[in-house]
């Protein structure tokens, strides 16, 4: 493991965890699954606060949304089944089973890496993240991921819940990821959501990850697709402009130019899957 801790504490409740983290200040690091710490550099005097026993796990379906406890594991996201549930599409592609068994949804979104995948689904579906300091507040995903959450959350402030809309009716969701091996991080990943109004695209949202500094929306694609006919040509036409406005990064031997090429393919495939599902096809 890369990051070394000088000490650790075990929190038994949410209040206990928050109190310990407030007392520690910037030296305190909440640890749920803990798998991301192998990618962090050392911080002298860092203290781990184990928050995996404070509850906050489980998924519940509500009228228009699902509410996911912060400590819900990625395996639970894979195995949950309900109409309108899409996060299994993404969680299934996060390697490996052993990691999915211990990694949590809040860990996946609070410590943001270029290859973080759950944020893509939350961004395109305009999910909200419930953050608790002394009081709870709901933060729209686009705002939550605008900066690195682990740097902007105050000591003791923790993600407690994620609320994600159900994907129903004339809305379709698509997710595609390219990686070299099953256990590798993505070279490129993209999520897309399309809502139809008859035979036209009413709204489209695209988010990309891996070959960018952090998961991000691609607003140009959304602008180009809104109001266009719901067909393949509209998608193809929109992608060219969309990818030209993003600075792609090379990863794992991939050049930035190849990143841009791969983005074109992966975004196309994610949008096409979203469109087909919005049209009622089993894509």
């Amino acid at each position: 493991m890369t990051m070394k801790f000088a000490d650790f504490a075990i929190a038994e409740t949410l209040d206990d965890a928050q109190a310990k983290l407030r007392e520690l200040g910037p030296s305190g690091f909440p640890v749920a699954g803990g798998t991301s710490f192998q990618y962090l550099s050392n911080r002298p005097g860092a203290v781990a606060v184990d928050i995996s026993r404070i509850g906050l796990a489980g998924i519940t379906g509500h009228e228009n949304e699902f509410r996911i406890g912060a400590n819900t594991t990625l395996t639970d996201l894979v195995r949950y089944e309900a109409d309108g549930w899409i996060l299994h599409d993404i969680a299934t592609r996060i390697p490996t089973h052993q990691i999915r068994n211990i990694s949590t949804i809040a860990g996946n979104i609070a410590r943001l890496f270029p290859w973080s995948e759950i944020p893509l689904g939350l961004l395109v579906l305009e999910a909200s993240i419930v953050v608790k300091d002394l009081e709870s507040r709901q933060v729209p995903a686009s705002q939550f991921f605008a900066t690195r959450p682990s740097k902007t959350l105050r000591p003791g402030e923790l993600v407690t819940e994620i609320r994600i809309p159900k994907v129903t009716g004339s809305t379709g969701f698509g997710y595609k990821k390219e990686n070299v091996t099953n256990a590798a991080f993505g070279l490129m990943s993209a999520a897309a959501a399309i809502t139809l109004d008859g035979d036209r695209i009413q709204q489209a949202r695209v988010a990309v990850g891996s070959a960018v500094p952090a998961p991000t929306l691609v607003p140009i694609a959304e602008q180009e697709l809104a109001g266009q006919p719901a067909n393949e040509s509209s998608i193809t036409n929109a992608i060219g402009k969309a990818i030209a406005n993003v600075r792609w990064q090379g990863r794992e031997g991939m050049t930035s130019a190849f990143g841009a090429h791969l983005a074109k393919v992966i975004i196309h495939d994610a949008l096409t899957q979203a469109l087909q599902r919005a049209q009622g096809e089993n894509a």
Binding site: K4, F5, D7, Q38, G45, A48, T96, H97, Q98, I102
Partner: protein, 165 residues
């Protein structure tokens, strides 16, 4: 001054244990220095699965699990699964089907399979792929391991295997 070591208590292979651990020590390192060397040190970054143990019944990579995460929990290592006289059905089937070559990955495979079969006695092929996607073998090409798994499921499940070979 932070303590150099701290004590944790957990259940290992059915027995209560206490261990002095360093704050950043991995569960794998604690197990291995305590003599449980069946938990193999392969990649040290959660990719190969040779260090797989069960934490509260779920398979995890001991190399990227902090030892303090085991405090108050139940850990099962390969030493707690079976032995020469009383092997786990999958261990028995591995021998019968020549599923081991160098053998380094096998403890990890056995732990992942045990974790799966304890929860899903008759898994589908999709469930098997999901549960074993974190275990690498660089000798067998997986065929013999799959044969052994099918044989073990046939032996232990009361139903016909949901997965056809």
């Amino acid at each position: 001054m932070s303590p150099a070591t701290k004590q944790i208590a957990f259940t290992l292979n059915g027995e209560s244990r206490t261990c002095e651990i360093r704050p950043s020590e991995s569960l794998m390192d604690v197990l291995r220095r305590s003599g449980y060397v069946g938990t193999k040190n392969g990649c040290t970054d959660g990719a190969c699965g040779s260090c797989t143990v069960l934490l509260d019944g779920k398979s995890v990579n001991a190399c990227i699990t902090f030892a303090f995460q085991a405090h108050g929990r139940t850990v099962t290592s390969i030493e707690g699964v079976g032995d020469y006289d009383n092997p786990h059905p999958f261990q028995e089937a591995l021998v019968e089907n020549s599923g081991c070559q160098c053998g380094f990955c096998i403890p990890g495979f056995v732990m992942s399979v045990k974790g799966m079969l304890d929860q899903i006695p008759n898994p589908t092929h999709k469930q098997i792929m999901e549960n074993l996607d974190g275990n690498y073998c660089r000798c067998t090409g997986y065929e013999k391991i799959e044969d052994a798994l099918h044989s073990a499921i046939s032996r232990t499940s009361k139903e016909e295997p949901a997965w056809e070979r």
